[in-house]
Every structure is written in structure tokens, then in C-alpha cells.
């Protein structure tokens, strides 16, 4: 009777049988990598904006405080997007003819609001409150990165639950003095000492039970 399989069949079968396990493992590993990649977390994507607003210029360059525009960041869950009138406070005087600022002026004139594309987005079932984080000494930079170095704003952090928990489980690694909260450049000389001290001082509870964010 003729051969029904070529010799190589032996090797092939062995390889496939043992290989299967490793291949499966590899595929899972790749998927795990993908969901953590910036592609999925939308990190580093510079959004097109109606006005190419540069934090680098306004914050880094002119040194405008975050709260000048994001007025409700200390009082509300929502940091607040500045109304057109805020822009016009300055731009009624300076760059009054700049083409870039045409939308701002027309918005102010017509009363039609400027429409920005959202950069940082949490799912609707996550209830995040800016004010409490600010008052507990979590710096803007901890979540938003060095916006003072961003020309067009992008999302710097992954914003995954894992990432949130990394701080909620160990706030001492991130907490900073309240007066440095809005200082994007601040680096603690000695976080290992300051962290625990501030956690005690600010009575940081850093909850991790579900209804802290989900309800």
C-alpha cells in the first residue's frame, strides 16, 4: 500500500500540536498589548479644533493660570470650557484682526457658540469630579500631562480604569502641595517623604469601592 503521508507529516504534526499552545498564548498577549496601546486609549492624538488654540502659547508662553479659563475646576465636577467672552477679554484688544481668531469674533458677534472637539473623554458611567481632586492636591499635570508643552491639545494619559486605580491605590505617589497643583512644571524634590505626609495632612481617603465613580 502506498504512503498516505509524507515523512514531513511527523514533524509538522508534532510542531502543530505543541505550537498550538504557544500560538494561542501569543495571540492573547498581542490583544492584551493592543488594548493598552495609545491607539485604543486615544493617547497623543492632536484633535482638530475650530480655532487652533495653543496651550503651549497661552500657558507655557504667557503663563496664564489654568483657572482663568477653566473657572469651575475648583468648585464643580466639570472644569468648564471658557465662554467666548473669556477669549474676547484679551482678544478684543490684541490680535484683533488675526485671521485665526475670526471664528471667535464671529461667535461673539452672532452669539453662536464655538464648538470644540473633546480631548479627554470618560465613559458616561464614570462620574469624575475635578474639584475634589484639586482640593486634595492632585496636580493638573498628573492627568493632563504637560499641556504647557502642547501646541494642539492631546490626551496624555491612557485614562483606563487601571490607570485611575494606580493613583487611587497609592495616592502618596502623586499628591503634591496644594499651592503646586496648577504648577505643571512642579517636581517634588522628595516624593517618598512628602507624599505620605501630604496624604495624612490632606486626609486623602482614596476610595476604591465601585460607587466612588460608578453610579
Amino acid at each position: 500500500m502506498a504512503q498516505i503521508f509524507h515523512r514531513s507529516a511527523n514533524t509538522i504534526s508534532r510542531v502543530t500540536i505543541f505550537g498550538a499552545i504557544f500560538i494561542a498564548g501569543f495571540i492573547l498577549w498581542v490583544i492584551g498589548g493592543i488594548v493598552r496601546s495609545p491607539y485604543f486609549t486615544n493617547q497623543g492624538i492632536e484633535r482638530e479644533q475650530i480655532v487652533p488654540f495653543s496651550h503651549q502659547h497661552h500657558v507655557g508662553g504667557l503663563g496664564i493660570d489654568c483657572r482663568y479659563c477653566h473657572t469651575s475646576v475648583e468648585t464643580s465636577n466639570f472644569a468648564g470650557i471658557p465662554p467666548t467672552s473669556t477669549c474676547m477679554n484679551c482678544h478684543a484688544q490684541i490680535w484683533t484682526s488675526a485671521q485665526l481668531l475670526e471664528p471667535v469674533r464671529s461667535s461673539y458677534a452672532t452669539g453662536r457658540p464655538l464648538i470644540w472637539s473633546r480631548v479627554h473623554r470618560l465613559p458616561d458611567y464614570v462620574h469624575f469630579n475635578h474639584s475634589i481632586h484639586i482640593s486634595k492636591g492632585i496636580g493638573c499635570v498628573s492627568c493632563h500631562g504637560r499641556v504647557d508643552k502642547m501646541n494642539l491639545t492631546y490626551q496624555a494619559m491612557p485614562m483606563t480604569m487601571q490607570w485611575c486605580l494606580s493613583c487611587h491605590r497609592a495616592p502618596e505617589k502623586f499628591v503634591r502641595p496644594r499651592n503646586e497643583v496648577f504648577n505643571l512644571a512642579y517636581e517634588s524634590p522628595n516624593q517618598a517623604v512628602d507624599g505620605p505626609r501630604l496624604v495624612k495632612e490632606y486626609k486623602i481617603q482614596s476610595f476604591t469601592h465601585c460607587s466612588t465613580c460608578h453610579y
Partner: protein, 477 residues
């Protein structure tokens, strides 16, 4: 790779009595009708598989079961599109047909492993002719059961959250939940019984490979045969592997249904919250399993003329086992009532009362008739040895075991602690369609199996032949 030249011609077959030696007193009546030789067995069984033209009966049966499969696919699609609301489940009765059917199938899936593994270890040689498709039945029952756990949840597309895997939420599943334990128990069981069944198949796959004429068929059987040549070394390894798997799956027979029963026993719903559920469920499972084996074996042996291999002795033994396990199950029902009364817990007592006189009483009485009374027929040898009565009893038990789960799941839920939240449960069209669909799936797989694989272990049958035995006896000295 092996050429057929040195593959075992019949006389070279190594008897396997090292592990399978049966003291003569255990074989008063032959488990294979006289007048068979190695050749006839091999012929008879393998031709069923290798014959060119498919029998008409098979085609019809297969078509019917495929209709069932289609129905299943339709109802699954509709389910995912609309939500579990298409079923009769509600508040308070959160679990309905899906769970009932799941437990029912898993239960049926027990006989296979029991027959193959435990009876093997117990040296019950009469098992040899039925173990193969008992195992197949196990697999297909587990497959049928497998469609429910994922589908019964509200958001099936997130069902994978039940598996512990590293995720960006840095969350683990809740390991305290019996449903978690189910995930592991059932998947383990499915894997082991698959391996067990496959290993058992290897020598026969080789036989089929060798007897097949068409090169592609040869390849088709040859690939899974893994180059089996039946050499002494092969047999030696083979039997070790087989025994190991048998030993491995034996505890599973007990563990799976024990853990399934935890889904209920761990909860505090009156009628569920009970410590004797594990043995009760396991017994019930064996009970259901053998009933199903009979349900399949009796028509199969007639249709494929296997009376010689699946003898009345097999059927009778299975009848006996049904009787034994049936008695345990019946005892459990009585214990349920007794414990309810003995607990003094008003809720348990009330629920027991509800089973007897409540809105679902007819279900309960039907259950008692099917699982309690019907098996009593097996006391009588005349009925035990009549395929008709055996089949009838088996059918009763199949229905009864489903009713048992109905009485446990929705009936208990419908009358729990606060009268204000009592409810009623009725299966809807989609409940039934999925049940029928899963039955269709089960039989479709089974039909494929009997067509393309030897439904009786050829080589093991050979070992039942007197000459094989003589050979074995001789060698033993």
C-alpha cells in the same frame, strides 16, 4: 510514517488483558453473542462507517435534527437582538429554561464518563460495547449544555468577563460566586472527556485508515490516528494513557454536578439552600445519563443490527443502574420534604407545601411519577429485559429529570420570602425553541458520529472474544 504492511493483521492484535483481565465468575453470560471472530467484529462495525452509500433512515434523521439546529440558531439570533426578555423569566423568577436545560444536559453528560472511566476501573467488561458512544453522548450533551451559560446572561457579548484574565480595569471575577466555579468545573469536564474519548478512538481510527480504500478517506482517518501502528510499545503507552485519563475523569464525574448543585445550594432561596444537593444531583445525573444511553442504544442496535454486540445483558445492567440511582433520587425527594419540615424554618416548610399544593403542583406530581414510580418497573426481570419497557422507562426518566430541575429552579423562586414579591413563571415560545434546538444539536452531532466514527470500540470488542481471552490467560503465566 506507517505503511500498512506492518500494521496489525488480526492475529497480531495485542490483547489488553493486562488491565482488563476479568475473573471468569464475572462473565456468566457472554457480553458478545457467540459466533464472532476478530474479523467479523471489525468488518461489521467498520463497514457501518466505511460503506459508500448512506442509509436513507440516517439521512432523514439527520435532516430532522438539522431542522432543530436551525431553530436553535434562529432563536439565538433573536435572543441576542432583543434580550432575555423574550423568555418567561421575570422578577422574582430570574432563572428559567436556560438554567434548567443547562443542568439537564450536564446531568445527561455524566453517564459517558461514568461508564468509560469508573466501570473501566471497576473492571466491568460489559461496558466495552457501550462506552464509545456513551462517551460521544457525553461530549454532545456537554456541547448542548454549553450553549446556555453564555446565552442566559443579559449581555452575552461581555460573558468573557467571567474568565479571570489580566485586563485594563485591573479587575478579577468574583471567586466567591458558584457561577465562577461552574465556569471551571464544566470547561475542565468538557476538555477531559474530549481527550478521553479521542484517545479511546485512536486504535479504531487506525483500523479505519487501513480498511479505507479512498486515499482521501485514508488521510482523513490517518491524521487523527497519529500514525498508530498497534505495535507493543503503542499498546503499552496507550493503555497507560487511557488508564490515567480514566483516573483523572473519575473525580470529575462527582465534581461537576456537585459544583453545578452549588449554584443552588449556596444561595439562600428556600428550596435551594440545602446541604444534600451534591449527592442528590450526582445520583440524578447518573440516573439521567443511563436513561439517555438507553434511549440511544436501543434504537441504534436495531437500526445498525448491533444486537450481537449490545446484548440484552448490557441493557439489563443499565436498567439495574437506573433502578439503583432512581431509588437514590426518589429518596432525595422524600428527604427534601422531611428536611423542610425538620428545619422548622417557616419559609422552607411553606415552600415544601407549595410544591405539593401550590400552583405548580402538577409539575411535582408528574416528577414523582416519572422519576419515582416509573423506574420501579426495573425490579422485574421481564420488563428489565424487554427493550420496549426499558425504552419507555428511559423516556419517563428523561422527562422526569427535566421536571426535577423545573421544580427546583422556577418553583422555588416563585414563592420566596416576601409574599409581595411572589410571581409566576411560564416558558414562552423562545424558551421552548431553544430547548428543542439544543436537542436538535445533540442528535445532529450524534448522527454525524455514528456515520463517520465507529460507535463501538472495535479493538475492545475483540478483547471480549474467547480466543483473545485464552490468549490472555495463556500469556499471563
Amino acid at each position: 510514517m506507517a505503511t500498512t504492511k506492518d500494521t496489525a493483521p488480526v492475529h497480531e492484535v495485542r490483547p489488553t488483558t493486562q488491565e482488563l483481565r476479568i475473573p471468569t465468575r464475572f462473565i456468566p453470560t457472554p457480553t458478545i453473542e457467540p459466533g464472532h471472530s476478530f474479523a467479523t467484529i471489525t468488518d461489521h462495525i467498520s463497514t457501518i462507517v466505511l460503506r459508500k452509500k448512506t442509509p436513507l433512515g440516517w439521512l432523514i434523521g439527520f435532516l430532522i435534527s438539522m431542522c432543530g439546529v436551525t431553530l436553535m440558531l434562529v432563536s439565538i439570533t433573536y435572543l441576542i437582538a432583543k434580550g432575555v426578555g423574550i423568555w418567561g423569566v421575570n422578577r422574582p423568577v430570574g432563572w428559567g429554561f436556560a438554567i434548567i436545560n443547562f443542568v439537564w444536559w450536564i446531568g445527561i453528560g455524566h453517564a459517558g464518563t461514568l461508564i468509560s472511566a469508573i466501570l473501566l476501573l471497576l473492571r466491568q467488561e460489559w461496558r466495552t460495547s457501550i462506552n464509545r458512544f456513551a462517551e460521544a453522548m457525553t461530549l454532545f450533551a456537554v456541547a448542548a449544555a454549553g450553549i446556555y451559560p453564555a446565552l442566559h446572561v443579559g449581555r452575552p457579548w461581555y460573558a468573557y468577563w467571567l474568565f479571570p484574565y489580566p485586563n485594563t480595569m485591573s479587575l478579577w471575577p468574583q471567586f466567591r460566586s458558584p457561577l465562577m466555579w461552574d465556569v471551571f468545573a464544566v470547561s475542565t469536564y468538557a476538555i477531559v472527556s474530549l481527550l478521553f474519548w479521542y484517545v479511546g478512538l485512536i486504535p479504531d481510527l487506525a483500523t479505519l485508515r487501513d480498511r479505507a480504500t479512498n486515499i482521501w478517506v485514508k488521510r482523513a482517518y490517518g491524521l487523527p490516528a497519529l500514525g498508530w501502528r498497534g505495535s507493543a510499545k503503542h499498546w503499552h503507552r496507550y493503555e497507560h494513557a487511557y488508564l490515567l485519563l480514566a483516573g483523572l475523569s473519575t473525580p470529575l464525574v462527582l465534581s461537576v454536578h456537585t459544583i453545578v448543585s452549588f449554584d443552588f445550594a449556596v444561595a439562600q432561596v428556600p428550596g435551594w439552600h440545602s446541604t444534600f444537593f451534591p449527592p442528590y444531583f450526582v445520583a440524578g445525573a447518573v440516573f439521567a445519563g443511563f436513561a439517555m444511553v438507553l434511549t440511544l442504544a436501543i434504537p441504534a442496535r436495531i437500526f445498525f443490527k448491533l444486537e450481537d454486540f449490545i446484548t440484552m445483558k448490557h441493557l439489563e445492567n443499565m436498567g439495574k443502574i437506573m433502578l439503583a440511582t432512581g431509588l437514590i433520587v426518589f429518596y432525595s425527594y422524600m428527604m427534601e420534604l422531611f428536611l423542610a419540615w425538620y428545619s422548622g424554618d417557616p419559609f422552607e416548610i411553606f415552600l415544601a407545601k407549595m410544591r405539593l399544593v401550590g400552583p405548580y403542583r402538577h409539575m411535582y406530581y408528574a416528577l414523582i411519577v416519572c422519576n419515582g414510580l416509573a423506574p420501579q418497573m426495573m425490579w422485574f426481570k421481564r420488563l428489565r429485559t424487554s427493550t420496549f419497557w426499558l425504552f419507555l422507562t428511559a423516556m419517563f426518566v428523561n422527562a422526569g429529570m427535566w421536571l426535577e430541575r423545573f421544580v427546583i429552579v422556577p418553583v422555588s423562586l416563585s414563592r420566596d420570602f416576601l409574599p409581595s414579591s411572589w410571581g409566576m413563571y411560564h416558558g414562552t415560545f423562545w424558551d421552548w425553541s431553544l430547548l428543542i434546538g439544543s436537542i436538535g444539536l445533540f442528535f445532529a452531532l450524534l448522527f454525524l458520529f455514528v456515520r463517520f466514527l465507529p460507535m463501538i470500540a472495535i479493538f475492545e470488542m475483540r478483547t471480549l472474544l474467547p480466543e483473545a481471552k485464552a490468549h490472555a490467560e495463556g500469556e499471563a503465566h
